[in-house]
Structure formats: C-alpha cells, structure tokens
C-alpha cells in the first residue's frame, strides 16, 4: 500500500521525469519536428520571453493561442500539453490564488472578497506560466535533446555553458529515475502507516536519495567520460541549412515578442 507522502514523492518524480522526456512525439511527422532545431529553439525562446514580459491579458491569450496552434500542426495532443503545463500551473496557483483575496481593490462581485486586481493578477500569472511552460514543452516534445544541444552550439552559445546545460539535463532525468527506484524499493518492503511514520520514512528516503545522488552521479560521469563526455558536446543535427518555413517560424515568434514588448511599454 503506497503511503501518501512517499506516494507523492513517487508521483512528483514520475511527473518531472515525463516532463523532461519527449518519448515518441519527437519522432512524429509535424510542423515543428520538420523545422531546423535552431529555428524551434529561437521561436520557443521568443514565445517564453514574450510571455514573461507581457502583462496584457489579450497578448497573453494570443500567445496561448499561438502555442496551441503550433502544438496542433505538430501533432502534439492538446491534452498532453495541458498535462505537462498543469504541474507548473498548480505550483503557480499556490502563489497566485491567495492574491485573489489578499490584493486590495474593488470586489468583482459584491459580497465576495475577491478583488478585481487580485483576479487580474491571478489570470496574468496563470496565463504567463501556462504559455511559458507550454512553449518549453513544445520544444521538449518535438525536438530531440541532442538536436537542442547541437542548435545551441550552432547558435554560438559558449561550449562551457552548453556542456553544463547538457550534463544538468541528463542528470535530472537519471536522478529522478533513481528516486523512482528508491520509492519502489521502499514500497516493496511495506509502505504506509500513519502520517508521522510516513514523514519519518520520507525524510530517510530523501537522505538516502541525496547520498545515492552523489554516488550515481559519479558512476554516470564515468559512463559519459568513457564515451568522450569530457570533450565539448558535439551532437548531430546542427549541420542543416535553414529553409523558408524556418525563417517564417522565427519571424512569427519574433513578431510575438515585439508585440508583447510594444503593448507592454506603450503609453
């Protein structure tokens, strides 16, 4: 029987692991999958940045529609995108929802303690997180990780930064997998109990996880080094030439970013 606390840890590691791994969607035939990874990276960067700088509900909604349209033409199911964004939205809700009640201002409906300012804040925060995470999810879902690394190198991002990014990303997936194994091993020997027991077990589990993180990290480091991992990353997929649809995608996303900036800073 899975305990609540440990079960939550397992669900958390599974959700995060699924978020970072594209599985089969990247292999499908779709608009973004056919694009040069540099163009996809640039477009996603622009959309995420646009969502970050914009405070206009209309612009954020338009950005959301753009992300959904890109998902549709790239054979990415909307439900999958929503599931991936849902986790980040839930975290944002922890921050945003109290503001509904705490922010001063006129009530939306007489008698309800929800202010207009609070509602606007929560809506902007929700849309911002949804669009940003949705755009990043599109990148993860449609572009192979090695192609993203190759695109970063092609865009002349310093090798050291790309190396840190590549290693960090790989370690996140490996270590979440390690956490999943630990939780399952614990469950196999009887989980559950009252909440106090569960918290104690969860603390022990996290302690063991931290120790194993170092040990596993060292061994994976050996595995990488054995296959040239101490050299600058040089994955395949960076040698293509950009085509008209790649430029169109880049132009669309740049327009979104500029529009978000203009609307934000115009008087």
């Amino acid at each position: 029987m899975s305990g609540r606390v440990v079960g939550t840890l397992d669900a958390l590691s599974g959700t995060l692991r699924s978020f970072f791994v594209a599985e089969r969607v990247a292999a499908r035939d779709g608009f973004l999958q056919r694009r040069d990874p540099r163009a996809v990276l640039f477009a996603v960067g622009c959309l995420a940045l646009a969502a970050t700088v914009s405070r206009s509900l209309v612009v954020l909604a338009a950005l959301g529609v753009t992300v959904l349209a890109l998902a549709r033409v790239s054979a990415v199911p909307a439900a999958l995108l929503a599931r991936r964004s849902g986790f980040a939205l839930a975290l944002a809700a922890v921050v945003g929802l109290p503001q509904l009640l705490l922010m001063p201002g006129d009530p939306v409906v007489a008698g309800l303690p929800v202010s207009e300012a609070g509602l606007a804040y929560a809506a902007v925060l929700g849309l911002r997180v949804g669009v940003g995470v949705g755009a990043l999810s599109l990148l993860v879902l449609t572009t192979r990780f090695s192609a993203v690394v190759a695109a970063l190198r092609a865009l002349r991002v310093p090798a050291a930064l790309v190396w840190v990014f590549a290693v960090t990303y790989r370690y996140v997936v490996v270590l979440l997998s390690e956490l999943g194994s630990l939780v399952r091993a614990r469950e196999a020997r009887g989980g559950g109990g009252n909440v106090r027991t569960e918290w104690r077990d969860a603390r022990r589990l996290m302690g063991t996880f931290l120790v194993r993180t170092f040990e596993r990290g060292e061994r994976v480091g050996q595995g990488m080094r054995a296959r040239g991992g101490d050299r600058p990353p040089s994955p395949y997929g960076g040698g293509q030439s950009l085509r008209a649809p790649d430029y169109a995608l880049a132009a669309l996303s740049l327009t979104c970013l500029l529009a978000a900036g203009v609307v934000q800073w115009s008087p």
Binding site: R17, F20, V21, A22, E23, R24, A26, A27, R144, F145, S146, Y169, R170, Y171, V173, V174, S177, G180, R216, R219, V220, Q222, G223, M224, R225, A226, R227, G228, G229, D230, R231, P233, S234, P235, Y236, G237, G239
Partner: protein, 259 residues
C-alpha cells in the same frame, strides 16, 4: 608484440577503506580475447574501470605502447560499465547510441548506419525512441553494449556483457564479440561463459590476480577455482574424475557430444 594494454602495480581502495584491486599486473595483446573471472566483490569491476582509465588508481596502464593517458586514446577504448543504467544517460536509446560516435567525430551518416546495424543485431529496433529508464534489465544491457560498440573501438573492456540477457540474445552477443576484430576483455562471475568468450582467463580474488592462464588449464583446476569462491563449469564437473583433465569438456555442447 606490443600489448594494447599493459598494467603495472594497479591498486585502488575506495574511500571507506574497501579494497578494490591490489598490485595487479596484466598484459593484453592486440586481438586477444581475455576474460577476468571472480566471485562478487573480488575486484573485477574496479579492475575494468582502472584499465579503462576511469578510476584514479595507483600504478600505470600503458595503452597501445604509446601513452598512459586513457583520455588521449578514448575513442579506441570501449568501456562497458557493470550497471547499464550508468551507460544510458540520454533521453532516448537512439541518442545514447549516437552519443559516442558524435563525441568522437564519426560522420552522422556513418553513425546512422552503424546504429541501424547494431539495433537490428541486438533487437533494439523498436526501442530506439524509448527513454532508457523504460527498458527491461536485459534490454538496458543490450542498449548499453550497443552504445559502446557504436563508435567501433579497437579494445573492448566489457563488465558483465551478458548479465540479465536472455538465452537467444546471449548467443547473439557471444557471436558479436567473437566476430569483433579488435581486442576483447570481459569481466564476469559466470565461469561457464568463459570458453565462449576467451582464449585466456584471469582469476581474481580479494582484489588480486590469483591465476592467469589458458582457459582449459584454469577451468579444470577445481581447487584453484574453489579457493577464489568459484566452481568449474557444469560440463567439467559432470566428467571430473571420469576423464583425464586434458580431455574434459568445457562447454555443454562438448559434453553432449561425449554423451
């Protein structure tokens, strides 16, 4: 002939004091097949890592008679770690197989061809777009082996290449290693696999090399193997005392012929 690997005085202890290997000397000639056997905890994996230049061990290892820096000849050394999870750190199996060839500068077309070939041979075709953590233990082992073979190294240092692999793939891997044109050093606790893997066998016990010789000579010496916590292969045990030592069958197939 200049050895491709020449280890002298290799010693390594883990930070908690556990001894990994002690004063190991080992030469491996070009094209040779050597298997290192030993019970659990005898130091095989530590020796594999030390020979592969992945542990900061005392002593020296000279590669190809040229250098003691393993990183300088890394693309010529294929090291399979004992735990396949440690070899599979990319988001899909395909990316893991392409990692080594890309890092070592193999052309993308050549890598694609090599990966398709290995995936076909090792039954990984349907697994290429899966994340490694979704594979079974045997599938992980095959994928990890393929990730090492993908960049076509001259020398293979393979820690338990057959672990958790089922019967039919076991035969395929044995054939693949037999056909490999370079040098193959395997590390395994499974004595019965040795006659199929090697011409020379090294026995380890408590971090030290306790025997190093021709396969028949070592595998028919029950006393020696017992002292290292091992047993002779089943075929040898079946005919022990019934046939002279030099006529003992080493494999089940040879035993079946005698019966």
């Amino acid at each position: 002939m200049v050895p491709v690997i020449e280890a002298r005085g290799l010693s390594f202890s883990y930070p908690d004091g556990t001894r990994g290997v002690r004063e190991v000397d080992l030469d491996v000639a070009a094209g040779e097949r050597v298997t290192v056997v030993g019970a659990n905890g005898s130091g095989k994996s530590t020796l594999a890592l030390s020979l592969g230049g992945l542990l900061d061990a005392e002593g020296t290892v000279t590669y190809f008679g040229e250098t003691t820096d393993a990183d300088a000849v890394r693309e010529r050394l294929g090291v399979l770690l004992g735990n396949p999870d440690d070899c599979l750190f990319n988001t899909t199996v395909r990316e893991d197989l392409a990692y080594g060839p890309a890092q070592f500068g193999m052309s993308e077309a050549a890598a694609d061809e090599r990966i398709a070939d290995l995936a076909g041979t090792l039954g990984l075709d349907d697994l290429l777009d899966k994340p490694p953590f979704r594979l079974s233990a045997g599938e992980k082992r095959r994928a990890a082996l393929a990730s090492v073979l993908a960049f076509d190294p001259d020398v293979l240092l393979l820690d338990e290449p057959l672990g958790a692999v089922d019967g039919s793939y076991r035969e395929l891997i044995l054939d693949l290693l037999r056909e490999h044109e370079g040098t193959v050093v395997t590390f395994t606790p499974t004595v019965e696999a040795v006659p199929r893997l090697a011409e020379r066998v090294v026995v380890m016990d408590e971090g030290e090399v306790v025997a190093n010789g021709e396969v028949r000579e070592v595998l028919t010496d029950g006393e020696l193997l017992a002292s290292a916590g091992l047993r002779p292969p089943p075929a040898v045990r079946l005919f022990e005392g019934k046939l002279p030592r030099e006529e003992l069958p080493l494999t089940v197939a040879a035993a079946r012929e005698l019966l």
